[in-house]
Amino acid sequence: METYEWTCETESAEATRAIGARLGQLLRNGDVLALIGDLGAGKTVFTQGVAEGLGIRVPVTSPTFVLINCYRAADGRVLQHADCYRLTAASAEMWDIGLTDLMVDDQILIIEWADRILDLLPTARLEISLTYLDANRRRLVCRAHGAHYIELLRQIACTDTGHTVPELTDVACA
């Protein structure tokens, strides 16, 4: 499957959130987003941006303990927000509680600590790896697998989010 990678660095939590918000505006039902990154890397901040872009008005809180949170946007789109952090046998447990049932055409799924359940994920997906650089700065490596997500990533990479920081540092087509 064709893969496209785009890397950017953000100067603040607001900038990370802004990229998420831009993505949220573009998402459609059935999309699967895999977030990867250590504690404090900005996964929840990014997801809050996605929810903001989707037009979700309630606070998006961490699903670490409850595992899956569900939000409804004003236009009817449904965001499922899952988190594998506290699971020891994450693939088996997430499968058992029905995560794969949420990878359907009428919902959007975003998963934190998705590297723990790669075998459960569809091959076509958008992966975003976040890395802590310093107190405010984060590196985002976005990998789009499949034509739909490549198009999505192109649109984000070409959009000025209003923050000057996220510039295109690497574009590779494999």
């Binding site: 504690l39 404090g40 929840t44 901040v45 809050q48 606070p59 809180t61 961490s62 670490t64 303990f65 409850v66 595992l67 899956i68 949170n69 569900c70 939000y71 409804r72 506290r86 699971l87 020891t88 046998a89 088996a92 447990e93 058992d96 509680i97 029905g98 049932d101 802590y132 107190a135």
Partner: protein
């Protein structure tokens, strides 16, 4: 006399309980805490919808036998309908519906968070010395018309909320966390500091020899009027991470970091709870959820809140079915049984007064 069998399967725990008159626990069974006849050996997952299926029947049977009651003795059933995991909730809800239908018992759907609020209304029957109970108890105050308004702080791994109860089934959600729950912050900071799991007891232990003023960690949202009763712990977690990174290869002052982090969490919880208690003129504050076990929080609640404070014993702070039965008792009275045509609601919010 009302005798309610309650079932709770919203997340990790399969639980059933029998509660008399909304406060006296006749039995309170949590699958992970007892030896059940397991259908297979090996490692058990922390969470699994199938595990609920395996455990639900023996857990209910145990709840009835420990309570010494038969199906014919029951007044009604109560079950958690949400919020929680859809697949997990379905096991409890469908089991409850099947029993209600086959035994012709009324069934009440209960909100899991409402259950936590009612954990404060339970006593432990004959198993607790009376000295350990705050007297008068909430049901006693209620009978005298003095229970409300009541302020409840729910503080656990999954939730951090301030709720004002103005009557049974009448709530105002004053505020909640905007990102991480307090218990989650304890777990994640414990990991950053290289301490064990669960993080609450590990941080508490490490903090005993630490200086809570060693690091000036942020007390979030304490000055923004629009978030007067809201919480935020994500920035605190990141502040600890930043501090840990600054130490680099040097040995971490774990005790000081743990004590300073714990002090920041406790300060915010207490400040907002005290503020809300004063604002709404409540006579008593109830605290529930797993973080209520924290000794620094308990000490601060006793020292820094002017009125009476109730904290249920730890086994009622974590997920259990007795609290669902207590909430179900009051819901059965008003608005009455739910019927059998309700569905699970994974994103169910606490019902708030209009």
């Amino acid at each position: 006399m009302s005798l309610i069998l309650a079932i709770e399967t919203s997340c990790d725990e399969t639980a059933a309980a029998v509660v008399e008159n909304g406060h006296r626990i006749r039995s309170n069974i949590v699958a992970s805490q007892i030896e059940l006849h397991r259908p297979y050996g090996g490692v058990f997952p922390e969470v699994a919808s199938r595990q609920h299926v395996f455990d639900i029947v023996p857990v209910i049977a145990r709840a009835l036998s420990e309570a010494g009651v038969d199906w014919a003795d029951l007044t009604a059933l109560a079950v958690t309908a949400g919020p929680g995991l859809a697949g997990a909730l379905l096991v409890g809800v469908n089991t409850a519906k099947a029993i209600a239908w086959s035994r012709s018992l009324p069934l009440v759907a209960v909100n899991h968070l409402e259950g936590h609020l009612y954990s404060n209304w339970l006593d432990e029957g004959d198993r607790l010395t009376t000295a350990a109970l705050t007297r008068p108890t909430l049901p006693e105050l209620d009978a005298a018309g003095q229970a409300f308004p009541l302020l409840v702080l729910i503080v656990s791994g999954g939730h951090t909320e301030l709720v004002l109860m103005t009557g049974h089934g009448q709530y105002r959600r004053l505020g909640a966390t905007l990102d991480d729950a307090a218990g989650e912050a304890f777990d994640k900071v414990a990991r950053l500091l290289g301490l064990g799991y669960p993080g609450g007891p590990a941080i508490q232990q490490a903090a005993t020899s630490g200086d809570p003023t060693a690091f000036d960690f942020p007390r979030a949202l304490t000055t923004q009027p629009e978030h007067r009763f809201d919480f935020s712990f994500s920035g605190l977690k990141t502040a600890v991470l930043r501090q840990v990174r600054e130490f680099g290869e040097t040995a971490l002052p774990v005790a000081d970091l743990a004590a300073s982090f714990q002090a920041a969490v406790v300060d915010v919880l207490i400040a907002k709870t005290a503020d809300a208690a004063a604002e709404f003129g409540v006579g008593r504050v109830c605290v529930c959820g797993g973080v209520a076990a924290n000794r620094a929080l308990r000490a601060a609640l006793a020292d820094r809140l002017p009125g009476a404070v109730s904290i249920p014993p730890l086994f009622l702070c974590t997920d259990n079915a007795a609290m669902i039965a207590a909430a179900g008792h009051y819901r059965l009275h008003r608005p009455g049984p739910t019927g059998l045509d309700f569905d699970v609601e994974p994103d169910l919010a606490l019902p708030v007064e209009a």
